[in-house]
């Protein structure tokens, strides 16, 4: 036994914002081991400059996003390559955002519609500002040369 044992004193202190009530700052962060699981081929496709959607053989619905199983009938889907040109279905320019994206503002979001595809594709639009964007405007996909394996590996520009 050691009756004189002490907790070590440290230099780091609490970040105190105010008293009454006491408000302290508490930092928290975590690393997730996030798996794309059955959606992985989509992200591998982006790295190879391909845009992969999903088609249900039974329903004949073609989704502009990876869906391993059909939202209508639950059947397994097949991968299909989407066109790399489409049109702006709708858009917005974000002047504010979640913390992770604040430094990127303003940025423009678009939902892209493709011929022969039943649903839309969310992406960033570059190269057109504010009034230069319009519904129906032709756009085409561009890809990052060095993939980050994120949905932002693809973005759209005016066609």
């Amino acid at each position: 036994m050691d009756k004189n044992i002490k907790l070590p004193e440290t230099e780091e202190g609490t970040v105190l914002f105010k008293t009454d009530p006491i408000i302290i700052k508490h930092h928290y962060e975590v690393d997730y081991l996030h798996s794309y699981a059955q959606d992985s081929p989509f992200f591998a496709g982006l790295a190879n400059r391909k845009l992969l959607g999903s088609r249900c053989g039974a329903c004949a619905i073609t989704y502009a996003t990876p869906r391993g199983h059909c939202m209508e009938c639950g059947g397994a889907t097949e991968w299909v390559e989407l066109p790399q040109s489409g049109r702006v279905h709708t858009y917005t320019t974000c002047h504010f955002g979640g913390e992770a994206f604040l430094k990127e503002t303003p940025f423009t979001l678009v939902l892209v519609e493709f011929d022969g595809v039943d649903t839309l594709f969310l992406s960033r639009l570059l190269g057109a500002e504010g009034d230069e964007v319009s519904i129906g405007m032709p756009v085409r996909a561009r890809f990052l040369r060095n993939s980050k394996f994120k949905a932002t590996d693809v973005y759209f520009v005016p066609a």
């Binding site: 989704y63 869906r67 939202m71 709708t90 002047h95 979640g98 649903t119 839309l120 969310l122």
Partner: protein, 430 residues
């Protein structure tokens, strides 16, 4: 199922930040208020609770509902947590209804809170955006206002809706809230004020968007026998409905509009539905609730609506989903003055349009002016609807202005994601 009644409600002031209280004390305040309103109801009569809060991130506390349960002195009675994004409060209310309707409980307490001030606004936006698909939506946009801005841009394209019509919604709800001391951001606004306020995501300005809040609300639901025994003015819950849609708005393939009793297929012959301009989940929730409550024409059969106006645009979209007007007519519905209170001066002129009878929407001020502490919001609507139908607005708000003269039937509506979960509940007097 057996009849279920609401017999009491309580809310705290909704505020940008309430740092002097944690979530347990906020709920306790709302709970004590509700209990005090029904002197014959003893705490031991409560059979159990359902707790509503959206995000563990905001409290940095998991199982916060368990902490509320012990703080209120309700251990060891049954309790559980309900979570469903922005619709958490509405789902909680319906879960409390189920406990009584099923016969499992005689008295069920639905309670909810959110303490969003515990992080900065931009971090809060990030937490909320984690309730969008984190593979494909969050990394691209990470921002719900952006999603709704895209939706209304398409609504404007399809139907000719204008930013001025959206601004009228903001004027209405903020002016209503001038008479609601529980509201976070009452104000006498003009259309110009709304349009000249800072742009968040085109075309939505900051006054087109609700605010993050701290706050709590509770509703006490009971069986018919208990309602009679307690000798209060109970309000009956006559309809509940819930609908869903794809988490990703981009994923919604087109189909036919599910018709409400007063609509025809020809009304929507050329409409691609749901599109990103409409909420199929909201319409489904409404259809189910209307069927249960025997509502044939909501615009005429309802006396008021408290709907989930997280954005001015979504209030307009929701008029259409609820069948208050047809799809595409939401902007004209606002221009006609139909959703405004008749006894208030909004500084606006209304179009002479006899298509719709007056049907006040968000007399409380809604989310736009009351704030949106997510887990409390759907229950706050229940409390205002209850007071409205009880005729006790003056007593609870200290101001009779928002009291409708003779309301018999009201609707509350709670909405998550981009229409991913939606609830509609119908409350009726006596």
């Amino acid at each position: 199922m057996r009849p279920v009644y609401m017999i009491a409600g309580g809310i705290t002031k909704f505020a940008k930040a309430l740092p002097e209280k944690d979530f347990r004390l906020m709920v306790k305040e709302a709970f004590d208020y509700a209990l005090a309103d029904v002197p014959a109801l003893r705490r031991q009569d409560i059979d159990g609770s359902v707790c509503s809060y959206f995000s563990d991130h905001f409290t940095r506390q998991l199982m916060a509902g368990a902490m509320v349960q012990d703080y209120l002195g309700l251990n060891p009675k049954p309790s559980r947590r309900i979570e469903g994004g922005g619709a958490t409060g509405g789902l909680c209310f319906q879960s409390g209804w189920e406990a009584v309707a099923s016969g499992r409980m005689e008295v069920s307490l639905a309670l909810g809170f959110e303490t969003m001030s515990r992080v900065n606004t931009w971090k809060g936006n990030e937490f909320i955006a984690l309730a969008s698909d984190t593979n494909f939506d969050y990394p691209v946009g990470g921002f719900y206002t952006g999603y709704y801005a895209m939706m209304v841009r398409r609504h404007m394209h399809e139907f000719g809706t204008t930013v001025e019509q959206m601004a009228r919604v903001a004027v209405k709800n903020h002016v209503n809230a001038l008479h609601n001391p529980y509201a976070q951001r009452p104000g006498r606004l003009t259309i110009e004020d709304v349009r000249s306020s800072p742009m968040v995501a085109t075309p939505l300005t900051i006054l087109d968007c609700c605010q993050m809040s701290d706050g709590a609300a509770v509703a006490i639901l009971v069986s018919e026998e208990m309602a009679q025994k307690l000798g209060v003015q109970p309000v009956r819950i006559t309809g509940v409905g819930c609908g869903t849609d794809a988490m990703r708005m981009a994923d919604r393939p087109h189909g036919k509009v599910p018709l409400l009793p007063h609509e025809n297929e020809a009304d929507y012959a050329d409409l691609k539905y749901p599109g990103v301009h409409s909420f199929r989940g909201g319409r489904t929730a409404a259809a189910l609730a209307y069927r249960m409550a025997g509502i044939a024409d909501p615009g005429r059969d309802l006396d008021f609506v408290e709907l989930h106006d997280a954005y001015t645009s979504s209030e307009i979209q929701t008029y259409e989903d609820l069948g208050l007007c047809r799809y595409g007519e939401g902007g004209s519905f606002v221009d006609s003055g139909a959703p405004f209170l008749s006894n208030l001066d909004y500084g606006l002129e209304f179009a002479a349009d006899g298509r719709w009878p007056r049907l006040p929407v968000n007399p409380s001020g809604g989310l736009l002016a009351c704030g949106h502490p997510v887990g409390a919001t759907g229950l706050m609507q229940a409390v205002f609807a209850f007071w409205q139908l009880q005729g006790t607005i003056a007593r609870h708000l200290g101001d009779p202005t928002l009291q409708l003269p003779d309301p018999k039937r009201g609707l509350i509506h709670s909405h998550a994601g981009t229409g991913t979960y939606v609830t509609v509940s119908i409350l009726e007097r006596g």
